[in-house]
Symmetry: C2
Subunit: 462 residues, 2 copies
């Protein structure tokens, strides 16, 4: 296996971003998001170099310093023209690739590609070239390059010319579309993306299902698929435990207890994101209250949902839809003493941890999700033998399915039934499932996940 | 091969429907639609029995007569309770299975299954049982039963118990969804549908692509896939020619010539149906006029689009969207002498035939389509060496692709480019492509298609 110093991580979002202080100096901030929070401790401990895009003007200033040491991480930010970066990130990545991989397009109306897509795709290619150039300059001889996610599918293709000594491995954090979904992209872009992925030594995914979809897409387009490997990410149980032990979480836990007011507690924690299926979750809760009157005034649904990607109209509309559905459920069922759904739109990490510690039922019902880390964090944090109601379309269902109550996310009736079953489940079954979930959720850590990517670069790996 | 009299055809819509005359008597009308118009002459010539659902009260009255001889066809209509039939047809077939197989669901919002789906699915099962019962009563010993389309996926499963001597073959006229699309149905219904199809001796599709999708769905659900076969339907060239020779078509042709007014003519002929992609076709025409000013006042787009399934809100909305897009294009580009888009919403067969005879360019750009018979009828009828611009997502593209200009239907820029290329194409290339298209479009007829289904029932077939 490669020595730790011979590994380079490449991702769109980096482990640090910068902001400008009043005195004009640059202040580093720790990044967020599943990829970054999963990778940061591992990269810090291995000494690997992390190459990421500068995402703001302060980031671009910091990029001029070259490779930096920040919080024990060796970081190289790549300065990319803001207009080019925005076209690649918002148009290609967020408004097209994300939608394709998550099956979110309303095909009757969208997409409708015109010359603007071609221009944005040229920007996407440019970003990939810029990242490849930076890696080519910084990477040690023979290094393993771990390229992360759908933002950077073309890096290995450009590196193949610049630095044929490097061994590039790609890891996709999202689902991967099946061949019919891929047809929603312009043909040339779709094929270029697959060929870019095909330029890696190996391509990794959170579940076999996404790996199979990727290979099916390659087969249909006549692209030679590289070897694939499956390496699910998992939370670091020790990190989680130490975060949960903070005074802020203790305070938040009191607030959660008070919010529940002795009632049973259903919790969800998500970005406000169409793929997370927040509205159907609320409608399933409404159906639970309709079908099973015994839960009226006896259950509170605490939805920790925080705004995301609001430059996209679909996300703004979905936020509006989610909050108006909360209001509708509360108007329909609320009483003087009971607010059925408490929605918290603040992105408050201690409160989310406290809620995951306290739930009786955790609802994770995405339309489609690469993995869903909350489904693993919940069972590791929960102290009530809480039940996990989990979408079959979350990658994590392949690992946790036997211990969770698995539901089809498009099926409100099945979701409502699963909530009812979770709320009525006897203590022995709850304990048994919770024990199994803890064990399954801890089976993979950021370290094992990282090591699997490095191992996939070996001639005999993955 | 089975003797002709030993074949039974089963379909939802039959070759005749009934209406009541003023004197109360029942008047038979010839059915319409691709399946019926393709099958009717073949069935009439073979003497096969045709079992179909009674779709109206006059149909139900006629059903009481038992097997009827109408226009040389032996027809048995099956009387199914109207409420049951409507739930099966409108909820399961039109609002769910059609949407799944054509990739039309806006997954962020729809579907959202509740107990009403379960009730509708029970009706769907009931319709399939009723059709199986009728076949069981009527079919000769050892007959081959040709079950048509997504309305009747469960018939063979029930016949297996009632009449194990029969050999059932299924043919799907729509696309078949890939496994991710199948997940939009409730799990039990999806698996029951696949198992129902799996109870046939063989399952046929218009292209290999749909057959592959079906097998992939079976594999993912653990259902043993039956043998599959590919048998594309084609028009009967002689029938088409005799229809086109009618006085009504001659009159309509004069109207088309007058409409074009010496300008180039782009034509489309479709039901108003989201999968037909009418709005993007209009937007691509708008983009053509934007990008290539030389076509302003020089081309007319004649859109023969007729309303369909207007009990579904999506179809009503799509009609509104299509007609308002027509108005928008005309307001943007129209002049005192030139209406850029002429939309004709009357379902007028002679006029459609006349338009297919007269086009310079035929636009067939569906989002997804099992086959698309217009793409074959056009080249057989056209007298101008007209160019076919054809969606890669129409099943017919697998047969006609080399001679057509194939476009990604989600790509407006590519579609506008193809229209421009078609309009500027030189006479030799037009003639060469038109000759090739005529030959490809005539390669399969209703007779060869029917025979392929019968052959698939043989122990050594398909």
């Amino acid at each position: 296996m490669a020595a730790p110093g011979d590994v380079v991580v490449v991702s769109n979002r980096g482990p640090v971003s910068f902001t400008r202080a009043d005195d004009g100096s640059l202040i580093p901030l720790r990044g967020s998001g599943g990829l970054v929070s999963g990778l940061s401790p591992v990269v810090a401990s291995t000494g690997a170099l992390w190459v990421a895009a500068a995402m703001s003007d302060p980031d671009r200033e910091a990029a001029a310093q070259g490779t930096m040491d920040v919080d024990g991480l060796r970081v190289r930010l790549v300065d990319i023209d803001a207009v080019t970066f925005t076209a690649a990130y918002e148009v290609v990545c967020n408004a097209n690739l994300w939608f394709v991989h998550h099956g979110l397009f309303d095909a009757t109306h969208r997409p409708a590609h015109d010359h603007r897509f071609d221009a944005a795709w040229a920007s996407y290619r440019h970003v990939n070239v810029a990242m490849a150039d930076a890696v080519a300059k910084e990477a040690p001889e023979g290094a393993v390059v771990l390229v992360q996610d759908y933002h950077l599918t073309l890096v290995a293709r450009f590196l193949a010319d610049l630095r044929p000594d490097l061994r590039c491995v790609h890891f996709t954090h999202t689902p991967f579309t099946d061949p019919d979904g891929l047809r929603l992209l312009p043909d040339a872009a779709a094929t270029e993306m697959l060929a870019g992925l095909g330029a890696h030594v190996a391509c990794g995914f959170h579940t076999q299902r996404w790996a199979d979809r990727f290979v099916a897409c390659c087969t249909e387009r006549g692209v030679t698929a590289p070897p694939t490997f499956v390496a699910p990410l998992g939370p670091d149980p020790d990190d989680l435990a130490s975060s949960a032990a903070s005074p802020a979480v203790a305070t938040a836990s009191q607030a959660i207890t008070s919010l529940a007011g002795g009632r049973r507690l259903v919790v969800r924690v998500d970005r406000i994101e169409p793929s997370k299926n927040i509205v159907r979750g609320l409608r399933a809760f409404d159906l639970l209250l309709t079908q099973y009157p015994q839960w009226r005034e006896k259950v509170t649904f605490a939805a920790f949902i925080y705004p995301s990607r609001e430059t996209l109209p679909e996300y703004l509309a979905y936020r509006q839809e989610a909050t108006s559905t909360v209001a509708w459920v509360n108007e329909r069922w609320g009483t003087a003493d009971w607010v059925p759904v408490v929605a918290n739109l603040g992105d408050d990490y201690p409160t989310s941890l406290a809620a995951l510690g306290a739930y009786d039922v955790l609802l994770v019902n995405p339309i489609r999700d690469g993995l869903n880390l909350v489904a693993k964090e919940g069972p590791l944090l929960n102290g009530h033998d809480g039940v996990l109601v989990l979408s079959s379309e979350a990658g994590a269902a392949d690992e946790l399915g036997d211990a969770a109550l698995v539901v089809n996310p498009f099926d409100l009736a099945a979701t409502a039934e699963a909530l009812h079953r979770a709320l009525t489940m006897g203590d022995p079954e709850r304990a048994e499932r919770a024990t199994a979930l803890r064990s399954l959720a801890a089976a993979h850590s950021p370290h094992t996940w990282f090591d699997a990517q490095v191992a996939a670069a070996e001639p005999n790996g993955p």
